[in-house]
């Protein structure tokens, strides 16, 4: 005898949510364009793309070497739209961010930006990023990785809303000695008043797209005079055109990531998941890093109240459990030591270079490396890097002396000069 079945229809049919089904087609475009893509595509001579968080981003547009020199000599325009952006708003926004991040957010005034980082409860760095205080109760947090669950879970008990706004907000970095002149000539009146890490809102007439505000901050990732601009995605193209038109006589050029990456290394800045592994991505537990282990110990503010990871960081400091240190290296010769192993006395392996280059501005062979303490910390002598330089299908193995040096590798007065100069 067959089983008696009470058949309920498993299929359907509560009504479809239209916005959700409309978004189905994303699978056809695995690498999205940013709001600036039409302009960037038109300038892409090399067609040298990479995947930045699901966006089609340029390694280079026409010549990676010359793009670097555009940063250092003129003004370079770099699309930062794929950067993850969270809008954090509410009466408790300040208290919430003070709890989540390492630095003292109560000291961050409205109209200011600071570079910060945040940790999990074990004190391991989840990410670093920039925190923009747009008003007393409104912030924008920009980062490499995505953190919505962490931020939402941390927000429990605070009167605050956290919204991911990566796609809604387009971003540009305008960097280089003429960047100020470009903005002034583009009609951003008052931009000369922005000191380093200041931000302000400026009107922008997007033509048929209407008028909006563009947020301009005197920040950047190059160690040079520079600004970052955020605008609603619909206004992106008109903003691009406005800058390009104003910059024509000042040598403005669009650039790709390779050039920017060189500038950031000269500036001694680190990149998440390039110079350290973020804690939500570290499959191997020994790859986790505390702020003190990646050169971010300066951010930790023990005077302020509790923040995520505080107890673990304090304990690690007290019990000398900080096992690594991130240092700047100056290496003899001119062959970049990318991903070279660092040795003590040419024999004991003590660390790894995560980024390296010949610095055109410093005329030195520079690198960022992670070393196992005490090397790089209290023991800084007799350090060497073993460089495997592939030349015409042969490794030229070089053992070169490395010296621990201060970062940044270059310091440019024009970065902080007030008022900013025309070039």
């Amino acid at each position: 005898m067959a089983q008696a079945i009470e058949k309920q229809s498993s299929a359907p049919r509560s009504p479809v949510i239209p916005a959700r089904t409309a978004a189905q087609s994303h699978f056809r475009t695995l690498r999205l364009g940013t709001p600036f893509q039409p302009r960037i595509d038109a300038l892409a001579r090399t067609n040298d793309w990479y995947n930045w968080a699901g966006y089609r981003a340029p390694h280079s547009l026409w010549d990676e070497e010359l793009e670097y020199f555009a940063i250092r000599s003129q003004a370079a325009l770099f699309d930062i739209s794929p950067m993850t952006k969270y809008r954090i708003e509410g009466t408790d926004a300040e208290a919430f961010l003070d709890r989540v991040t390492l630095r003292d957010v109560t000291k961050l005034k409205a109209g200011r930006v600071h570079y910060t980082a945040w940790c999990d409860d074990e004190g391991f760095v989840l990410d670093d990023g920039t925190l923009f205080r747009l008003s007393p109760t409104r912030f924008r947090l920009c980062s490499q990785e995505r953190h919505l669950p962490w931020l939402l879970d941390s927000a429990i008990g605070f009167d605050v809303t956290v919204e991911e706004e990566t796609e809604a907000v387009a971003g540009l970095a305008l960097q280089g000695p003429t960047s100020f002149a470009v903005l002034r000539d583009a009609g951003f009146a008052g931009v000369e008043r922005l000191k380093i890490f200041d931000l302000a809102e400026f009107p922008h007439d997007g033509g048929p797209q209407g008028t909006s505000q563009v947020t301009i901050s005197r920040t950047g990732f190059t160690g040079d005079l520079g600004y970052e601009l955020f605008v609603p995605a619909e206004q992106a193209l008109s903003l691009w055109d406005r800058l390009m038109a104003a910059g024509e006589l000042r040598g403005i050029r669009a650039i790709g990531y390779t050039a920017l990456n060189r500038a950031r290394l000269e500036a001694g800045l680190i990149v998440a998941n390039a110079d350290f592994v973020t804690s939500e991505h570290a499959v191997r537990p020994d790859r986790l890093r505390m702020p003190d282990e990646i050169g971010l110990g300066f951010m930790i503010d023990l005077e302020k109240g509790h923040f995520n990871g505080r107890r673990a960081i304090l304990e690690a400091r007290a019990k000398h459990r900080l096992r690594h240190v991130l240092v700047g290296l100056e290496i003899e010769g001119n062959i970049p030591a990318e991903h070279a192993i660092v040795y003590h006395r040419k024999s004991q392996e003590v660390g790894l270079v995560s980024a390296a280059m010949w610095s055109p501005m410093a005329k030195r062979n520079i690198a960022i490396a992670s070393l196992a303490r005490p090397f790089g910390d209290t023991m800084v002598d007799d350090l060497w890097v073993e460089i495997y330089a592939m030349r015409e299908l042969q490794y030229q193995k070089l053992m070169k002396r490395a010296k621990v040096v201060q970062r940044p590798f270059i310091k440019l007065d024009r970065r902080t000069a007030n008022p900013p100069a025309d070039f």
């Binding site: 299929a11 359907p12 479809v16 949510i17 994303h26 968080a53 919505l148």
Partner: protein
């Protein structure tokens, strides 16, 4: 009369893997298989002209690459093709897809929940960490914790060191992972029901437990620790169906001089003075062997093939109580054209992946409620694939083979044995579910093979049709699999070994039990094992 060096009972994948390794060590090995074909539950048969089915197991990930390499399986025709993601259809006419591309995967989840979309990285990290803990244990004999033999102590130390190498947080997670329900586990990461249902399916497949039963989180891990050519967690189709795995094994075995006898059902193991001496076939034929290896599950081996009086009481009781419950069935369908799913765009890669219709944890658990009541699920959970979207060898061009793994199907229906009418009713529950999402589906059906636990047990010999030869719950893993004291492929009887999925590390088309058993046998014979490459590094 000839005495073989070893007789392997059952030509399933583990029996064949075991036989291959023994033969290549210089033994003269005979495999006896009751069916007229080899393959056990990894078999592909042409039941209707032009269509090759994967009659039981249907996708491949767990099969150890070390074994494929040692036994030269590619040379004998084995190819595994990675497939693309999959989807859960939702009752509101949408679907949630899994895409291989990381960012597409995130965007797809974000259609349902931005938070859950961004929670995936931490979930993937934690699951990967647990897989990396277990992976190295697959190709090792589980230590006997009560033994003082140096090798057992060494293995225990290895296990202890691995565990001690975890951080406090990870240790906690490992213990939770091995014991908690997949539902509770997923609650720690995700908030959206369909997203949880999407992941939970790996926690219940082949298991007589529901997503809310403790122990199902480990089952998920068991499905994640495989790989396709280094891509950990990926699943693929064996080209030519899962029978390609055992066809290659059989060919490799024969090429190395091994002998296979099909249509040779073993009635019982020949035991003299407490020692296995060979097998007696159902027709009374006596075959002598210096040792006997059983690929049958632990219950079949010790409750059917060996007389009870030969075995210690406690061992017998534990074997009787070994959990090996029938929970699933299989519907294999030959289709004269590719089915359409109106919810799915025509160019979606999901057609080439695994498809499901159970879009909530509650539906999944309710399907299990039916099983507990002794009924097949009125609203079953299906794991449905169409391998012919990627494999041109299994059907004529334009026609397709669809494999539906169905859960839950009880070993007995309302306490009585399955009847043909029950089987038809079971099939109807499956077809009607598919047809609700795919209009015109019934008209495409050319032929259908329906397998309830009754058919699976009768043909393959798996007790109650349990696909893993025993539940993968923590009480039946590692040195407790299949029973404490006998986790090292030996039995209370000298010369009788077990090499099936009832042994460590368990079920799935993995081959590791067969290989590990061969290593133990060769150790007992003081034969070298140079022909077994070491387990691949997990770095």
């Amino acid at each position: 009369m000839k005495a073989w060096d070893a007789i392997v009972i059952g030509g399933g994948h583990n029996g064949l893997v075991n036989a291959c390794y023994l033969q290549r060590a210089g033994l003269d090995v005979l495999v006896v298989e009751k069916n007229d074909w080899v393959g056990g539950a990894a078999t592909s048969r042409e039941l209707t002209p032009g269509f090759l089915y994967s009659n039981c197991s249907y996708v491949c990930s767990l099969f150890r690459p070390e074994i494929m390499r040692d036994l030269e399986l590619p040379r004998f025709g084995l190819q595994v093709i990675s497939y693309e993601g999959g989807a859960v259809f939702t009752r509101d006419g949408d679907y949630l897809a899994n895409y291989r591309d990381h960012d597409a995967h995130r965007r797809e989840f974000a259609r349902f929940s931005r938070r859950d979309a961004e929670a995936y990285d931490r979930y993937a990290r934690d699951v990967t960490r647990q897989c990396r803990f277990i992976q190295p244990l697959l190709m090792r004999t589980a230590p006997d914790p009560t033994s003082l033999r140096p090798r057992d102590l060494g293995e225990l130390l290895y296990l202890g060191k691995k565990f001690a190498g975890l951080s406090a947080e990870e240790m906690a997670l490992t213990l939770r992972f091995w014991t908690m329900s997949i539902s509770d586990f997923l609650d720690e990461y995700f908030e959206t029901d369909v997203i949880k249902a999407n992941f939970a399916l790996s926690g219940i497949i082949g298991t007589a437990l529901g997503p809310m039963s403790p122990g199902t989180a480990y089952v998920l891990l068991h499905h994640y620790m495989g790989e396709v050519d280094g891509s950990v967690g990926a699943w693929g189709y064996a080209r030519g169906g899962m029978g390609a795995v055992t066809r290659a094994l059989a060919a490799s075995f024969q090429a190395s001089g091994g002998t296979i006898r099909t249509g040779a059902e073993v009635d019982h193991v020949l035991i003299r003075r407490g020692k296995a001496k060979g097998v007696i076939l159902a027709d009374g034929e006596e075959i002598h062997g210096k040792l006997v290896v059983s690929n049958a599950d632990v219950k079949r081996t010790f409750l059917k093939l060996v007389e009870e009086k030969e075995l210690p009481d406690i061992f017998l009781r534990r074997v009787r109580n070994f959990k090996i419950r029938g929970s699933s069935g299989k519907v294999n369908i030959a289709l004269d054209s590719l089915p359409e799913f109106p919810a799915l765009p025509k160019d979606s890669p999901v057609y080439r992946g695994d498809m499901h219709f159970t879009d909530s944890m509650e539906r999944m658990e309710r399907a299990y409620d039916d099983w507990k009541a002794g009924r097949w699920s009125a609203d079953p959970f299906l794991d449905m694939v169409i391998p012919t979207t990627l494999d041109p060898t299994m059907s004529p061009p334009g026609k397709h083979f669809m494999s539906c793994f169905v859960q839950y199907a009880p070993p007995k229906v309302n306490g009585h044995d399955w009847t043909d009418a029950d089987r038809d009713g079971f099939a109807e529950s499956v077809i009607s579910q598919i047809a609700e999402y795919s209009p015109g589906f019934r008209d495409r059906i050319v032929h259908m093979e329906v397998r309830t636990p009754r058919e699976i047990e009768a043909e393959v010999g798996l007790t109650e049709g349990n696909i893993f030869q025993g539940e993968l719950t923590f009480d039946q893993l590692l040195f407790n699999r299949p029973v404490p004291g006998y986790a090292q492929y030996r039995s209370p009887l000298s010369g009788l070994y077990i090499c099936g999925s009832s042994t460590h590390p368990g079920g799935g088309v993995m081959g590791a039990p067969g290989r590990n058993a061969a290593a133990e046998i060769l150790r007992d014979l003081a034969k070298p094992i140079h022909h077994m490459s070491p387990a691949h590094d997990v770095i």
